[in-house]
Subunit: 664 residues, 2 copies
């Protein structure tokens, strides 16, 4: 088996080269319109400034954590931690760099050639992010496995990789989420509601920050989130497999290597899916994107069959893969229903009786929307474990995430298209161009919602697999280790774990509220003090707004970040490993429920507002519209800050627990 | 020991007689003002009509459930079920009947004699509810224990009592909650916001329904909720004790009887506390009420020491009682902080940037507010179990609930004072009277918030004790029964359990939204069609609004009710007892978190609005006020419908599981 160990990093390298080739293709498209080039440069610059400052902070954080790891778990784990952090950071950096080049070229293509080529450019921009996530994961994790993986005694070193990836994700997702929504809420509240100017109007000082936010939050943040789940699911499965000395599923060596093998297969399928979308870009955009995703998934499931057969592993494991892959699609579809189906019309209608009923209806829909996804998770757990034991949960997560190359590409396509629309509006490219970018953007909203559902499902399953790996590790150490719910320690842990998602959601929502408040004051000040701004004769100071959002985001992500990393060792060392196990259970449950509820409420409010804006229930400017704007504003931190933070929270806590397990 | 078995029912009987005496005292106060007499009659009648129709439905529901119990668990359990249902229903009926007599007499006293006598009347009205809850619990449960309790083999029969109490609570709390908030939201949205008339304005057709709602929701609903927790904690503790064949805490017989003994002691302390409030009613109202509650609690803790000593039970058990009693006070105080302290000023301030930021801030505060209460619960669990094992959790719950006579009296005082204010406004009794009732009402809001926090804590602890009893029962049957979190079945159950609170919250919130929508249409119609209504020359058709709220409440409580009762047997029989155990754990966690969050968000929004109305941030009629009204409207179903439903949900599911445990 060891003779194949070079393959995952090789595939990773090839994928990365492909990503660079696509980047080159995008870069070759000339931006002929000077006006939009300047706007795009500002967005690019703002995003880069944020990224650099965020990474500087991340560096300090990682240094502290790295020193701690070095003295507690040794050099190898620390090395893995560094590789994980660098891999994730690199994927996010390259992906976002590309996205801020692709956005303006999408606008240009929409203006010069039309919808098909605009879709193609936007999707190519997204696919660089998708390929980077998959490739950096395979490259980094694959290299470490090549060195450490052949000996089950050293395989635990790669847990450090997961912790590195999680640390980056924590900062990217939480910091990016706070940035994007403080800018968005601030720009909307003053621009749309108070000044009465349209979204993305160049006179609005907050509009560049808003567009920067789409990149740092929805491209880099989302990428690091998925990267973490992707690597986490592999690491957990390897860890579980390493405890299986005797298994009727297959030999321990092949079971340990299978996650990387499946992920490599998935990368090939993703590339084929990306090609399929590219070939079909003349069709309706949603048809092209759907064909790519589903095509890649079907291909992967078929290919996985042969991989598993070839490796001499039980067919039961394949069924677990299928459970994960199908489950991911179901969760995505349910999310689509709640954020684009009849519920959004219900919310829009409730706007007839004002913002309060919009809130009540949206919250109720969000709460209801957790039911089917969570039951789907239950079904995945049930099917996969009854077929392949705990290993099945891990492999189901890998199955769900294997085609991450294309799902992430489609996710990242959304903010590129959104930015393209913003640039078209700010550059005054006219209605025709704007109509094209609008249609791409609308599709992007749907794909983003599906992507979010998928990300939550994947994060939950990955976290569950990591928790299972934690329990297995503890059982190796203490053969009688069980997390009996009737044990007061486990119960105490369960309650503490349940509280954490609520606390983190509260902190991040307050952060957005506070940062948006500063942003509102600044935008109001500029409207008041800069003469000629409203008339379009003076320029707004957009850099100042970017700076406010950056500072706020960097400051306010510290507390949730520290909490997520510090609570597991505190509980583990002070109250004990049973409480820690219970805590992970409670936190998993709380995170999944809140993440789904917040993402779906937020998405539904957003689209309810858009539904009204299309002329329903009185259309733009009506009281119903004003009521749905309130819903959308509340939904912003729900769906883009606090909700997504839940994915990271549970995964960080799970991976930290797994890393410290040998010390407990 | 058996020679003392007659004492609890005797104390219950005496308490009940006391309640009737107090009722007689209230009834003797003549209502001389004809105008307010008519209004009060309407409220009384509306409440009674709702109650009768609700109980009719409850009768059918209980009949079906009773037949099912008869054929599965025999005549004795069915008898206990009937006694439990009748006891709870009787307590609710008497308490609410009295409250709807005391409200108008409070108004009269405020008008004729002043604040001190008004406080006295309102509190006497509430204390009838308090005494009824405690007395009916002791009478009903005590009688059953007298017959069945001396033999551990038949002691399980009394579980049926808990199920009966839970069934009534389910309907009273959920139905009452939907009634009260659909009326409140409907009356407020049209009256205050659209028509611009003050709260409780007699021209508003929904205002009688709103006042009826206070009685059916906050008096009868709250009473049945507390009644259920009160009896549930005793039943669970008895059940846990019955499994303790050998214990160093004391003899099984005394441990089994102790909950009833402590509750009897608590009733005496409550009566003394009520007398203390009465004696101090010339002081500031909040001083009087606080002296009564804390006095009763301190007295109880001291008395409990002697009871436990006398019974030859370990002092460790006493410490568990103290943990419960102190924990209850802490949770109440935290609730007070979040719903009356600095957080409400923060919400009010956030109104400066509109309703969206009011929502974000309020939700964030609600989420944050779960932390300390849940950690307090953890501390109670930790302390009580490390001192007295699982029995400690049960006895801590009993300790928290023993002085229910006075805590419930203070809870029920709130809606009586609220009603008194409404009647003064509708009857046009002038500013002086209204000022007195307003100050009583304001205090009532705080006590209601504290009461809600207390009710959640008590319900959680009672449910936990019942779940512990369920686990012990299963362990007796299957000695290897453990709920290991690593077991996929337990995990699946945990997820299913976690979903249920979100689903029930969604259903009940939607129910309020839908019912309020009907109410709004009707009130708008009356304002439009009844000529002279706004001018005060024509009467509104208030009965029609009461009818709408009644029908909506009765219809919409069926689905959550059936779900709560049906899911445990479905999960238990189809997926298995491990999944059922996991489900109870997940549901407990979810219910506690949502209940606290919703109650505290709702309470904070309500008081933020009141804070603005006092002239802060622009006062009444300002944009900030309008923004906080939106918060309050969303908070209404949060704090008075969905949040409180969580207490019942987890207790119903726990007690149903305990009842069906022998069949699994």
């Amino acid at each position: 088996m060891t003779e194949l160990f070079y393959l995952p990093p090789l595939f990773g390298l090839v994928g990365l080269i492909l990503a660079f080739v696509i980047y080159g293709l995008i870069k070759r498209i000339p931006v002929t319109n000077k006006a939009i080039d300047v706007i795009a440069d500002r967005i690019h610059l703002g995003a880069m400034v944020f990224m650099h400052r965020e990474y500087k902070m991340l560096f300090i954080f990682s240094l502290v954590l790295g020193i701690f790891l070095y003295f507690s778990l040794g050099a190898n784990t620390t090395l893995a931690f560094v590789v994980g952090a660098v891999s994730s950071a690199a994927a996010g950096y390259i992906g976002m760099f590309t996205a801020t080049k692709a956005n303006v070229r999408t606008t240009q293509a929409a203006h010069d050639t039309g919808a098909a080529s605009a879709l193609s450019v936007a999707f190519m921009g997204g696919s660089v992010m998708g390929l980077c996530v998959a490739s950096m994961g395979l490259l980094g994790l694959g290299m470490l496995y090549w060195y450490f993986g052949d000996d089950p005694a050293t395989a635990h070193v790669i847990h450090g990789f997961g912790m590195g990836a999680s640390s980056v994700a924590l900062f990217s997702r939480v910091g990016g989420g706070i940035f994007t929504k403080s800018a968005d809420v601030g720009a909307d509240l003053v621009g749309k509601i108070e000044a009465g100017i349209p979204e993305d109007d160049p006179r609005n000082p907050g509009v560049i920050a808003d567009n920067v936010g789409d990149n740092v939050g929805d491209v880099a943040g989302m990428g690091s989130d998925i990267f973490e789940s992707y690597c986490g699911s592999m690491i957990a499965t390897i860890a579980i497999a390493s405890t299986l000395v005797m298994s009727d599923l297959g030999s321990r060596e092949t079971l340990m290597f299978l996650p990387l093998g499946l992920a490599s297969t998935g990368l090939i399928c993703s590339v084929l899916g990306i090609l399929l979308v590219k070939m079909m870009s003349a069709n309706k955009p949603d048809v092209a994107l759907r064909a790519g995703t589903i095509g890649a998934a079907v291909l992967f499931v078929i290919a996985a069959w042969f991989v598993i057969q070839q490796a001499g592993i039980s067919a039961n494991v394949w069924w677990s893969v299928v459970a994960g892959a199908v489950g991911g699609i179901i969760i995505g579809l349910v999310t689509e229903y709640y954020t684009a189906g009849s519920p959004i019309r219900k919310i829009a209608k409730s706007g007839e009786t004002g913002p309060a009923t919009v809130m009540i209806t949206g919250l109720a829909i969000g709460m209801q929307s957790v039911v089917i996804p969570v039951l789907t998770l239950c079904a995945i757990i049930y099917i996969s474990t009854s077929l392949s034991g705990l290993y099945g949960v891990g492999i189901a997560a890998v199955g769900m995430l294997a085609t991450v190359g294309i799902t992430m590409a489609i996710d990242a396509y959304g903010p590129v298209a959104d930015n393209a629309g913003g640039i078209a509006e700010m550059g005054g490219l006219g209605k025709e161009t704007r109509d094209i970018t609008d249609s791409l953007d609308e599709l992007g909203n749907t794909t983003a919602a599906i992507g979010k559902g998928f990300a939550i499902g994947a994060a939950a399953l990955a976290a569950l697999a990591i928790i299972a790996a934690f329990v297995e590790t503890m059982t190796l150490k203490y053969p009688n280790f069980t997390l009996h719910l009737g044990d007061p320690m486990v119960l105490t842990g369960l309650f503490i774990g349940g509280v954490l998602p609520f606390l983190i959601a509260s902190i991040t929502m307050t952060a957005v509220g506070d940062a948006a408040f500063e942003m509102i004051q600044e935008i109001r000040r500029q409207f008041k003090e800069i003469a000629g701004l409203m008339e379009g004769t003076a320029e707004p100071d957009t850099a100042r707004c970017v700076d406010i959002a950056t500072k706020a985001a960097l400051k306010k992500m510290i507390l949730p970040g520290v909490l997520a990393v510090a609570v597991p060792p505190l509980v583990g060392f002070i109250i004990g490993p049973h409480a820690l196990g219970g805590m992970l259970g409670g936190a998993l449950l709380g995170c999944v429920l809140l993440a789904l509820m917040m993402a779906n409420s937020g998405g539904a409010w957003d689209n309810a507002k858009k539904h009204v804006e299309k002329g329903n229930f009185g259309g733009k400017g009506s009281d119903v519209h004003a009521a749905t704007v309130v819903g959308d504003t509340v939904g912003d931190p729900f769906k883009d800050t606090s909700g997504p933070s839940m994915n990271i929270l549970i995964n960080v806590m799970a991976i930290v627990s797994l890393v410290i397990a040998p010390l407990l």
